[in-house]
Symmetry: C2
Subunit: 297 residues, 2 copies
């Protein structure tokens, strides 16, 4: 592990033109690399609109294999610019078997590993259980030339168990590609509570585990394809952020900007923080058995 | 469960006179009851100075049995004012066997149950492993006339596992009597990071579990009895707070004030929040087995 790592997150607004979206992501990766980034994280399902607003079998056309055309393009970028890339793809594993998958491309262009989203949401406007089979790889961090990455995806960010299992397997950074936004029918106070909850939950994973967190969310408004009223859809709330191992914000985007967010992680901090806040020392594993139940009834 | 619960937290600064400290707590309980509180939570080890700044066998004189003189006095107050009280006592269980124990007194004056602190810290200035045997009751919520209370203590607040286990056993409110503060040798930026981490970690337990949180911390400076330099000791940072099930702050004290902090909890909110944020539905218990290990190596 190097002592510091320069990291970047690409927050963007997408259109129905997947090639345009992907070109934009690639341009931002190059820009991040030129600014010195060693690791670039893209947002969840960064190639397309957030198609899970509806249940539509035609959307499976968006899926691709891993390796496949996207990983090939990203591998070329990674090796050319000597940069580690975390991408988020709609994976076609077999006919009728799809996953929401994060892929890590190492700086030599090889695929370092993948993570298949374990916790799958299903709410009005977020019909992910229709598209994605829950991951079967488990919570396994991915080794790269810059360190061991705990890559999770979006809905996983609400589950302290996922962050803990990654940290317990030696993850040095927690990473969350994300697609989350507001239902504009909710009032401003509710919207603020939701954004705050999203921020503090992930910052708390940093604190509980003594590791930095990179969370990358999309921005822009995407209309509900089925909606009869124009206001329906999702206002993705941006606010991508990079936090240190005490949950302290190192960099944070606003709601609307398309940008490359960057920060330098001091990887020695985790060593210091876990000495002054030694939570791993004191876990009461003799009383944690019921965590493997759905409920204690 | 009633639809709303009026709750209060007593934040106070202590002296070496335990009887004075306890009298003050009792006066504040009466005041809270007169203001309509149905539940009052006291801070951790509210009878004494935070004696764990040193390892001193004489301090065991402060311990008492449960039931004992403190629970008797609190039971009389609870039944007289029809109020549920969460107290935090230095429990003498047997000669040479002590716990850091929270006791819940129901509104009829009976002892509803107790919780023995499960996670025990040990850091410079917080030598708790010398005094307290880690609890053996486990993470069991306590039923009272106003609902099922998930009572935990201080260091437990850094462990998402503890909050989760309480919520999975039906806890309707998470409650943390606390004694935490700054080492004044740390600079202001570090102090702010520590306070922020403490706030967001507990607010995140509310979010992850869809329940309100009451956290009660002491205030005031307590000198290190062994110190040779006058600046040494702990500046307890107050900031007791009450949060709703989205982690939203309902009431928060400042750093220095001795006060009764109060809020009204709308218990219907947890039902609504767990419908829109259904984390309990989606936990991947088929991949959580390693949570019962210390580390995944």
């Amino acid at each position: 592990m190097t002592k510091t790592i320069s990291v970047a997150a690409v927050q963007q607004a997408n259109t129905s033109n997947s090639q345009d979206n992907f070109n934009h992501s690639c341009q931002q990766i190059v820009r991040a690399a030129e600014q010195g980034a060693q690791l670039v994280v893209l947002q969840e399902l960064h190639k397309s609109l957030y198609f899970c607003q509806q249940e539509d079998t035609d959307q499976f056309d968006l899926a691709e294999t891993i390796p496949g055309p996207s990983t090939e393009a990203l591998s070329a970028l990674a090796s050319k610019h000597n940069i580690v890339i975390v991408a988020s793809l709609f994976e076609k594993r077999a006919t009728g078997l799809y996953h929401n998958t994060a892929v890590v491309i190492d700086s030599d262009g090889s695929i370092a590993g993948k993570y298949r989203k374990m916790h799958i949401p299903d709410d009005p406007g977020f019909y992910e259980k229709f598209y994605f089979t829950p991951g079967d790889i488990g919570f396994e961090p991915i080794d790269t030339s810059i360190g061991r990455l705990g890559v999770l995806v979006c809905w996983d960010q609400w589950f302290p168990e996922a962050a803990r299992l990654m940290a317990m397997a030696g993850a040095e950074i927690l990473i969350y590609p994300t697609a989350i936004g507001w239902d504009l029918a909710d009032n401003k106070a509710e919207q603020q509570r939701q954004l705050d909850a999203w921020l503090i939950s992930q910052r708390a994973h940093a604190v509980a585990n003594g590791v930095p967190v990179i969370s990358v969310n999309r921005t822009g408004f995407e209309a509900d394809p089925k909606a009869t009223e124009p206001s329906h859809g999702i206002q993705f709330w941006g606010n991508s952020f990079i936090a240190g191992p005490q949950g302290e914000i190192l960099a944070q985007a606003d709601q609307d900007s398309e940008l490359v967010l960057s920060a330098v992680l001091d990887m020695e901090r985790s060593e210091q923080i876990r000495r002054i806040w030694p939570y791993l020392r004191d876990r009461r594993i003799d009383h944690y058995q019921d965590l493997t139940k759905l409920y204690r009834d």
